[in-house]
Symmetry: C2
Subunit: 412 residues, 2 copies
């Protein structure tokens, strides 16, 4: 069994073939959910699945399950999956790798005439990126009941087109009720989307959990005034007061290493004129941690600092939590299967907590789940220059193969 390996060249060739659909001049991919290009991508992958002998099921939100039957069809399938929709300026690997790695596992087992006890399934979930329609992770979210099919159907793009209409238009509105589809275990391979593996020079990231996150909108209200005639002591400078909160966001994250994160990514200044003291500044705050207790302490410390800043500065400051996801620990059985496969295959490895969201978070609500990370160049994704090494993608796919076989068992 130690010898069983997937075909890295075939995996790479499939990735490059799929990346032609929606290819951008800068080497990336633009294949937004439920567009004509998404349909072309789906058709290509489904065609490959049929060639590999897989049976196709599509549910009402357009999630596609591609099944390789097991010796015991009554067992819940061991599933792997991800998504093939991309960001507007996305890359070739984000999501696509997880789907095609699953397809490559199946092709390898076909080549070797290996039968599994439990069925295997490769899934791709609708609209993971959320670039065209919100909420993000739409297909897996509906599947696990995080929000309703009606909510998802009603979502509109900027032109007013709905998910319902676009799904029907491209021919991917299936019959199966979302969620009425068993999962025995779920794995997802993905590029890391961060710099940790590359920085530590490791090939495989075992993912014990996904971080929780809290998102906030903060508004500091001062008084706009001329930059010249207004003495320093009479100012209510919303930008200056904001800088202290912005610095505290980072200080809070640094107080809770190694998984504390604090980011101010979006800033809007009013009136944003060179010679006018800012009267209002709006900015986002993004706090994350893998430990919910620590995330809550970070939340409380931030609110306390804002209260202190409000009373010391005399300016108006409001802060509103606009989003919250608790941390998602993955199942010991799946994490263990990934770790064991990695060790068996001899890859360099480390644990990497996922800082970004993935369909696996929603799958984990219904079944034991785990993830496998491989490095991506400079930690960059959601960008046309997103890149990954063929060797690393092959290694992640080998780990997926052995982790899935661990859960599905080879028929003897």
């Amino acid at each position: 069994m130690n010898e069983l390996r997937i075909n890295g060249d075939r995996l790479w060739a499939s990735l490059m073939e799929l990346a032609k659909i929606g290819a951008t001049p800068k080497g990336g991919v633009k294949r937004l959910a439920l567009t004509d290009l998404d349909k072309q991508g789906r058709d290509l992958v489904v065609g490959w699945a049929k060639e590999a002998g897989l049976a196709i099921t599509i549910d009402q939100i357009g999630n596609v399950f591609m099944r390789r039957e097991g010796r015991n069809p009554a067992l819940a399938p061991v599933m792997t999956g991800s998504h093939i929709d991309t960001q507007p300026t996305g890359g070739k690997f984000d999501g696509n790798y997880g789907v095609l790695a699953g397809l490559e596992v199946v092709r390898t087992l076909n080549d070797m005439n290996i039968e599994t006890e439990a069925p295997l399934e490769v899934a791709f979930w609708t609209n993971e990126e959320g670039s065209r329609f919100v909420p993000v992770m739409m297909g897996s979210g509906v599947f696990c009941g995080a929000f309703s099919l009606e909510t998802a159907y009603a979502a509109k793009d900027t032109e007013g087109k709905t998910v319902r209409d676009e799904l029907a238009r491209i021919g991917y509105m299936g019959d199966q009720v979302p969620g009425q589809h068993p999962i025995g275990a779920y794995f997802e391979t993905h590029i890391e989307q961060g710099p940790v593996l590359e920085d530590a020079d490791k090939v495989i990231g075992v993912v014990p959990a996904v971080m929780g996150l809290s998102w906030y909108d903060c508004v500091v209200t001062g008084m706009e005034a001329h930059a010249g005639p207004t003495p320093m002591g009479l100012r209510k400078d919303a930008m200056q007061v904001s800088t202290y909160i912005m610095q505290e966001v980072v200080k809070i994250a640094n107080r809770y290493p190694p998984y504390g994160r604090g980011t101010v990514g979006m800033v809007q200044v009013f009136p944003n004129s060179r010679n006018v003291i800012p009267g209002e500044v709006k900015f986002s705050i993004d706090l994350r941690n893998v430990n919910d207790e620590l995330l809550n302490i970070m939340h409380e410390e931030m609110l306390a600092f804002i209260d202190k800043t409000r009373s010391e500065s005399g300016l108006g400051i409001t802060v509103e939590r606009v989003s919250y996801y608790p941390p998602c620990p993955f199942h010991p059985d799946c994490v263990g299967a990934v770790r064991a496969a990695t060790e068996k295959l001899g890859y360099t490895t480390m644990d990497v907590v996922s800082g970004a969201g993935h369909d696996a978070i929603y799958a984990a609500r219904l079944a034991p789940a785990g993830m496998i990370f491989v490095p991506c160049k400079d930690g960059i994704s959601h960008n046309e220059i997103e890149d990954a090494k063929s060797d690393h993608l092959e290694a992640g796919c080998n780990v997926l193969l052995h982790a899935m076989l661990d859960r599905a068992r080879i028929a003897s």
Copy 2:
């Protein structure tokens, strides 16, 4: 002579009449330079001047000089003036007050049949605001030779219309070569555009000088990356590094009181997305002081701090000085005339250095000049809610009357 006073009600009525041209629903005025509305405003003021017996001269950049002859026409005129163009969301008083206060001085002298030795002139300068066409203070700038008539003529608005064409179109391209017009002394009354007088509860600001200013564009370049997967220690967060420079701008100003000013008014963050660490931040820096030596020290301290921040953070930081005006001290004779008039009339007073630019800065290059400030509500201008008290405007006009008489002398 202590008894001579202008007619405050008439001044107020004229201000309100002029403010109807381009009146906005929020109570402000939108009368951009060289528009049809500017023409209507000019025509109204020129009409009033003619009714008051004044002779009109227009120069090639559209500056208008309205002359009340003196007993000795060979003497250079004692001039007062300002502008009647406004910001897009401007108020009723900025500029307009200075012009109509001059007209009210003339009307008062007419009422009292007072003749002066030197001629008096009331001027309004073209395009002081610079909202439609840059550079700002265009008419007075051409007049004093700060830049050429051709430069001004070539300036275009956002629709591509030139100053030359628009000036001709509204009928205000005169014959006189700009600057070929003597000035014996120049006074300008203006709302303070700052909160100092109101805060100190004084009626008249004697203006010894206008601050110098240095404007900079600062660009901090880090690396954009996902807010979740990127550990704090591996970040190059352009926003965080920027906050330290932004705070230093204010600290530097506070080290050089009472006339040090430091403002970050404009901030642009890229890509400005909630879950992306900013890869680049551009922001403006505005440093001012009334003392050029101190302004230069502030400049040097800021550059040194930026150098230190660059080497400590490892991020790319560039800073470019995009504008510089040296401080402009007013002439002791004119400042003294304003101070003497204020004391004679018994108004509460203090010295207020101007933090904003005015046509008087350019006039001061050619003749002794001085300014008179009156309070404006909450220090607000360049805003439709700009407001000033009739009593204060009357007081400022009375000071102008006596300061002009001081320089022009009553014919005996």
